[in-house]
């Protein structure tokens, strides 16, 4: 071992507290990169492979009914690679063991080997086209309700109760994330996918030799927009509901959102940590080098070159970084595994595993070494620039100036001790500002983490307690006359029934277009209400249409503008409607009209497609069952029960999330404040010892030492609140999607928690340094020359 290497290890040992704190920040950075980015990469790789092997479609379209012969014509559309047709519909499943009604998306299967979006068998066997009364179930639904091969399951299709045999359990790339219709969150107990032989299924739905859904893959180089336009044109006479690509496919969309979020956070959080690493190494090395001026001079006098000395300090910081990186590697891989397991709760993959790629590891190491280099640079430059003779001499006393308060004429109000503190902060404004910024990130990280929960909670609460107040929402499997309201009201236990009409439509404005269902209901209805982002309730206007801000932005229209509406059912008329209101809502893309106006818009017979129901207390279960047994009812949903599942999941997630957030935030706060205080102590040890000699007590001296860190922390808190707010805003904006938009809603509590946790971390780190201060040997400090 060379003497310099020995010196390095001794110096490292001597500064172990600071080195450990820096290594902890590096470890956190590496950990977040490897876990978050690693999970992201694992998900993307796994998903892409799954899409590839299962022939995941590029385009979907639902329609009323088209003859199977049309399939050939679809295949002939330029750009189409392959076509698959299906029959699919929602229907009720009778489950004895659960209180709420269950339903399933029933999908036909022709040939399991040749289909697009091929299923992956988990157990049992595939159903075949000609199988009678055999079904396959989606995995989560089967597991949650304990279905196994050979079990019997009761389904109600078009009012007919049939017992089916479960022959297999499978997963599908089109249903990696399964949400009940109109919902946003999985309810594995009450909703699943049911695959059935095409023959049986078509017979049950009067769809023999016909299909109600087509999926396509495209040739390389095909223009998706053109294919969709051609397809929609072709399907017009058959009640085509408008084709859509992957971005609008629910499962894909949710997974994509999740990935996007993962990527954003997995980039932003490590970046913050690495910036903190660079800053800390910078201040620690600068201090170290100024205390080692003499040693450096002696080394130079003995003939060590600038490069030797530069390398020494660089290696010194590299050790801290590599130790941190190693810890971060292990924790990161472990955390990656844990996160992948959490993803499996929501997203179903055939075989999802956390896999750390060599390139990510290399990248993570490279970036942290880069941070170490940037951090070391300033200090090393100082060390190298020092001529030996100069370095032998003690550093001249630091220069100070009257502070800002004194220049403002407030000097007379300040004690000498207060001036000391203020001037020390002012002397190196950059260091003070960066310290404050560092601490403020500790506050900001908590805010952005907690904001996600605040925002989602706010959104959910508005949606399910203010906007959607029905106990049960039913959808009919065919249009019914409005007087169905009376039939529903006659069911014992039903308190309120409000039928509505939902019409699929495509909105046009210039070349821009957007598909959305138009909900028509009576102005007298009270269960569902239109709410704005601020929670205001908007009455349904008597004429014109109300649309989501998301759609208005997409179509570039405003309140008062007129839009063209292409109705995607019946005689498919094109109409002009005035936008009378644009609401900022959080879920889905909506359009609302008074129901009479909607009937007029669509033309033809007045009909309703579903109803919202409120039941008498304690009657929910009974009424749900009665409703789901009605022949005209396709599905019965209970928005509130989804909300309850969501809340339960969320509070578990909150617990884990908060645990990590507190960890992240504390690592930053502790390392910045601890190092700041240690450096102050080293720079001002003599000054503080003098004060003790002059008769200041230990406490008074500690106050003087920590006042600086205290002021920095107090400045940092509001800055952190603001940065947290801005980052939350950026995150909210980046997460705007069709399915949900998280409102920028930060609870007052969140600000308080964020500040509180940072303060606790600050006090804790001061306490660590205070112990060292108390052990300071007064005389030996004063005897030595600085």
């Amino acid at each position: 071992m060379t003497p310099l290497t020995k010196k390095m290890f001794r110096d490292l040992w001597h500064h172990r507290g600071q080195m450990i704190s820096i290594a902890a920040v590096v470890a956190t950075a590496i950990m977040t990169v490897l876990s978050m980015r690693g999970v992201y990469e694992s998900l993307v790789t796994s998903r892409d492979a799954y899409y590839e092997t299962s022939k995941f479609p590029d385009v979907w379209v639902q329609l009323e009914r088209a003859p199977e012969s049309l399939r050939k014509q679809i295949a002939e559309i330029p750009g189409v690679a392959s076509v698959d047709t299906r029959v699919s519909f929602l229907a009720t499943i009778n489950l004895d063991q659960i209180e709420k009604p269950a339903s399933g998306l029933f999908v036909s299967i022709d040939n399991p080997d040749a289909m697009l979006g091929r299923l992956h068998l988990r157990s049992g066997r595939f159903v075949r086209k000609w199988d009678r009364d055999k079904v396959m179930l989606s995995e989560k639904f089967a597991i949650t309700n304990s279905f196994e091969e050979g079990d019997s399951i009761e389904v109600v299709i078009n009012g007919q109760l049939r017992a089916m045999e479960v022959v297999g359990v499978a997963i599908s790339p089109e249903h990696m994330y399964i949400v009940p219709p109109g919902s946003f969150f999985p309810d594995n107990e009450a909703f699943g996918i049911v695959w059935m032989g095409r023959q049986t299924l078509s017979a049950l739905d009067n769809m023999e030799s016909a299909f109600s859904e087509a999926v396509l893959t495209l040739q390389a180089g095909a223009v998706e927009e053109q294919v969709k336009a051609d397809l929609d044109e072709l399907l017009k006479p058959y009640g085509g509901r408008g084709s859509y690509g992957r971005p609008m496919q629910i499962s894909h969309q949710y997974l994509e959102n999740e990935l996007k979020q993962n990527k954003t956070m997995g980039t932003a959080i490590p970046a913050v940590f690495l910036a903190v690493v660079a800053f800390l190494l910078n201040i620690v090395l600068r201090r170290l080098i100024s205390t080692q001026r003499q040693e450096i001079a002696v080394l130079k006098a003995f003939g060590y070159s600038n490069a030797d000395i530069g390398r020494f300090y660089f290696q010194f910081s590299l050790v801290a970084v590599l130790v941190g990186a190693l810890v971060g590697l292990f924790v990161g891989v472990w955390l990656g595994d844990v996160m992948i397991e959490m993803y499996k709760e929501f997203f179903v993959f055939p075989n999802l595993q956390y896999k750390l790629s060599g390139s990510l590891l290399f990248f993570a190491l490279l970036v942290s070494i880069l941070a170490a280099t940037v951090g070391a640079l300033g200090g090393v430059r100082n060390a190298v620039a020092l001529p030996p003779a100069e370095a032998m001499r003690p550093q001249a006393p630091a220069r100070f100036h009257p502070g800002i308060f004194e220049r403002m004429g407030l000097g007379t109000y300040l004690s000498a001790a207060t001036r000391m503190v203020l001037r020390n902060i002012e002397r190196r404004p950059m260091k003070s500002i960066l310290s404050a910024l560092g601490v403020s990130f500790s506050v900001a990280i908590l805010i952005i983490g907690l904001f996600m929960f605040d925002g989602v909670e706010y959104m959910m609460n508005l949606q399910f307690n203010v906007a959607q107040r029905e106990d049960i929402s039913i959808s009919f499997n065919r249009p019914l006359t409005p007087d169905v309201e009376l039939d529903i009201l006659r069911i014992p236990g039903v308190a309120v029934a409000e039928p509505f009409r939902m019409v699929p439509a495509r909105f046009h404005s210039g070349h821009l277009k957007k598909e959305a269902g138009i909900t028509g209901r009576s102005v007298a209805h009270e269960l569902q209400r239109i709410i704005t982002a601020d929670g205001d309730i908007i009455p349904l206007p008597l004429s014109g249409i109300v649309i989501s801000k998301f759609m208005a932005d997409h179509l570039q229209v405003r309140r008062g503008d007129r839009v063209s509406v292409e109705i995607l059912e019946g005689r498919r008329p094109w109409r002009e409607v005035e936008i009378v209101e644009v609401v900022e809502d959080f879920m889905g893309v909506s359009a609302y009209m008074e129901i009479g106006q909607l009937h007029r818009l669509v033309g033809g017979a007045r009909s309703v497609s579903g109803a919202n129901v409120k039941v008498a207390l304690g009657q929910q279960e009974k009424v749900s069952r009665t409703l789901s047994d009605l022949p005209a009812v396709a599905g019965v949903a209970s928005p509130r029960s989804t909300y309850e599942i969501f809340q339960k999941q969320m509070s578990e997630g909150l617990f884990i999330g908060i645990f990590f957030l507190i960890g992240f935030s504390s690592v930053i706060a502790v390392s910045v404040i601890y190092n700041g205080a240690r450096i102050s102590l080293s720079e001002r040890g003599r000054e503080l010892a003098s004060l003790r000699v002059l008769g200041f007590s230990k406490r008074e001296v500690a106050v003087l030492l920590f006042a600086e860190q205290g002021i920095i922390t107090f400045l940092a808190i509001p800055i952190g609140w603001y940065i947290g707010y801005l980052l939350s805003q950026a995150i909210a904006l980046s997460l705007i999607t069709e399915s949900y938009r998280i409102p920028l809603m930060i609870n007052f509590d969140t600000y308080v928690y964020a500040a509180g946790i940072t303060l606790i971390a600050a006090i804790g780190s001061s306490w660590l340094v205070r112990r060292r201060l108390d052990r300071y040997d007064l005389i030996s400090v004063l005897k030595t020359r600085d």
Binding site: H401, A416, M420, L691, V693, G695, I779
Partner: protein, 251 residues
């Protein structure tokens, strides 16, 4: 020192005989340096009188600083008894020592130990703000001849000027005793003289007892009494028949 009477572990200490402010009996100090023991003081008896100007002479390592530090409450003896007026320093606790340093004793070291972020005036004010009956910072600085350097920061002062600020800071609280450990050690001859003159002035004008460590024998003429130390012992204690004034000193 009323408060310390009640705080002291030994209860109420006897007042020292009239005219004495320090009394040390059988004082010894042993430093444990790993395996070896360094004996810095061996069974030292020592007295300091009110208003006295005492010069401590001795070779480097003879124990002068150790003795002064124990008197100043910066260090505690291994054995023996040391008392300042009615306060037994050898058994006093942290709190009592802090109050003792704050009110009764002033220090001047070889290195000036000024607070670099404070001006001359503020460095002195640091002490006057926590004392009961201080002089003003301006008065203290005038005493050492720095009335025209009030608002200079340490970085803007010469070494001698910095040391005089340190003296002003030490005397501003009107201490009974001033302990000076080689105050001229880092200064050139002429500057050293100015600093010594300031100490002399403080002693004569305020009646503050001064214990002054030096290894420059020429300075001994300045004291009322000269104490010689060697290998941790006091080997000689002599009164000067005539205490010289600064102008009579030649070296």
């Amino acid at each position: 020192m009323r408060e310390s009477k009640h705080l002291s572990e030994e209860g109420i200490a006897e007042e020292l005989p009239e005219g004495q402010i320090f009394q040390a009996r059988h004082l010894s100090k042993v430093y444990q340096m790993g395996e070896v023991e360094v004996v810095a003081l061996r069974d030292v008896d020592f007295t300091l009188h009110k208003g006295e100007m005492l010069v401590l002479l001795g070779a480097s390592g003879s124990g002068k600083s150790t003795l002064l530090n124990i008197l100043g409450g910066l260090d505690t003896p291994t054995n023996g008894h040391v008392q300042y007026r009615d306060l037994v320093l050898s058994t006093a606790n942290e709190n009592e020592l802090t109050i003792y340093r704050r009110k009764h004793v002033g220090f001047v070291f070889q290195f000036y130990n000024l607070i670099p972020s404070l001006t001359a005036r503020e460095n002195v004010a640091l002490v006057t703000e926590i004392s009961d009956n201080p002089m003003t910072a301006e008065e203290a600085l005038e005493l050492v001849g720095l009335e025209d350097r009030l608002d200079h920061f340490p970085a803007q002062l010469s070494g001698g000027e910095q040391q005089r600020v340190a003296i002003a800071r030490a005397v501003a609280k009107r201490p009974n005793v001033l302990l000076c450990d080689e105050p001229t050690g880092a200064l050139d001859l002429e500057t050293g003289k100015i600093v010594l003159r300031a100490l002399d002035t403080v002693n004569r004008q305020l009646g503050t007892a001064v214990a002054l460590i030096t290894h420059n024998a020429a300075i001994s003429a300045l004291g009322d009494r000269v104490v010689q130390m060697s290998s941790g012992r006091i080997t000689e204690s002599t009164y000067n028949a005539h205490r010289a004034s600064m102008d009579e000193i030649v070296w």
